[in-house]
Symmetry: C2
Subunit: 265 residues, 2 copies
């Protein structure tokens, strides 16, 4: 039987809120099985960038990552956010190790090709070349890897990389070796039928139901990229994907009654 | 026979200079034996701190590390400087992994006790509790650990920590298992008899000669903390310490003719 592995992604809204982050990490520390945590960036990068006079440019909701911006997010995501989470987990007795995709070449990537738009120093994960043995060794050594949303291109450049995508790529790469539950932690109780009503959580979703919801256009825009990543992961062999509130879903990491569970059947 | 291990510390003057850093890392990449790199911070933290409105306070040449400053150095040393070095080494074919003392609890420390002066979030390395197995595993896995000058107190705080001291503490902790050469890389050719004359390198120094030089007061002030660390390391079982120019001494990592070699005899 494959060992269970939880890959949890926690977003910027939680990372930005010290009290919520603390509560989330306390819940995470109680999980008795192997785990990888991928964190997003949060608004702190924008705030620090503003002070440094770095102007953020956005296109289609994505930050264009110029030279100043990749330095900024390397500092903030790879340094400040990542190491604070690591120190907090260590204080909770969890042997966390903070990494980017450059460390141990753990997440190889390529700079996104310039087409209509040049995203700058943005990375597309090279999922097929993720070094499985590196992650297996870390998990065997009982580390909890804490992954910042940064990769590298192998020729010396760090690349700003979507944290949801990193989590899904790791889940996919490790799916042949672990029974992977990919967990997207955010500030809502799950995927909601009515975005204004936290009680309208969809508890279970397969692709047929997802397609029906898409056809009915009832899902809120913000959840669509997560669901797209989730189903791509499921299609690639990830056992299940859970989407829900940060505190709920890590506390019940082997239960399936909280949040929205996405499966293949 | 114990395996050879080089622990190199590279200072802020090299880290701040892109061309010198590149040259140093290229030399480091040619070394055929296990290596750990400890890097200093450099002036970039001060420059970024100035832009962020963080005022640096110094006492006895040491920065007082208040809340804003520990966040600053966590960003700059743990993020920007560390990850850029890692990405550059990866591009040179070296499997670097960037860590602070918090990662994998690799360098436990305690906040410096408040006596006449409160240094703030500054760490004193708890050398006796450095987890040897963690470092041995990383070296066995052919990683080149790149260590930022940050430790943690085990209760959730990161601590600003002198890079020379981290290098010496690691050298001491690993000395029973490796034939350790501790290398202090800086911008001079070695310890100079005449600080104005780069040709006046002292090629070999033992404690007797060191004491004589101290009595004669011929050494320049900047080298004294390095020498103090160096002899403390030698006294604790480190095989030898080499002090010299960044490029020279890593290129000749098993030669003893370049820089100042400090030994027990």
């Amino acid at each position: 039987m494959q060992p269970f592995l939880m890959i949890a992604k926690v977003g910027g809204n939680i990372v930005d809120d010290a009290a919520q982050l603390k509560s989330f990490l306390q819940a995470l520390a109680t999980i008795p099985h192997p785990c990888i945590l991928v964190h997003g960036g949060g608004k702190v990068a924008t705030q620090i960038g503003d002070k440094l006079g770095i102007v953020s440019h956005y296109k289609d909701g994505r930050r264009i990552t110029d030279d100043a911006t990749i330095d900024l997010v390397t500092m903030v995501y790879g340094g400040l956010v990542n190491k604070k989470i690591v120190a907090a987990l260590q204080a909770l007795g969890v042997n966390a190790i903070g990494v980017t995709g450059a460390d141990a070449n753990a997440i190889p990537a390529t700079k996104r090709p310039v087409k209509a738009l040049d995203y700058g120093w943005v990375g597309d994960v090279d999922s097929a070349n993720i070094p499985i043995a590196v992650w297996q060794q870390w998990l065997m050594q009982k580390y909890l890897p804490v992954v910042a949303p940064l990769t590298h291109d192998g020729v010396g450049h760090l690349l700003n990389t979507n944290a949801d995508t990193i989590a899904a790529s790791l889940a996919t790469a490790l799916a042949p070796y672990y029974k992977v539950r990919l967990v997207y932690c955010f500030e809502k109780k799950g995927v909601l039928l009515d975005v204004a009503n936290e009680a309208s959580v969809i508890t279970r979703m397969n692709r047929t139901y997802y397609q029906q919801l898409l056809n009915d256009a009832v899902l809120f825009d913000g959840i669509l990229p997560k669901l797209s990543n989730a189903f791509a992961a499921i299609d690639s062999g990830v056992h299940e994907v859970l989407i829900g509130h940060a505190n709920d879903i890590v506390q019940n990491s082997t239960e399936t009654t909280i949040g929205t569970l996405i499966t293949n059947d």
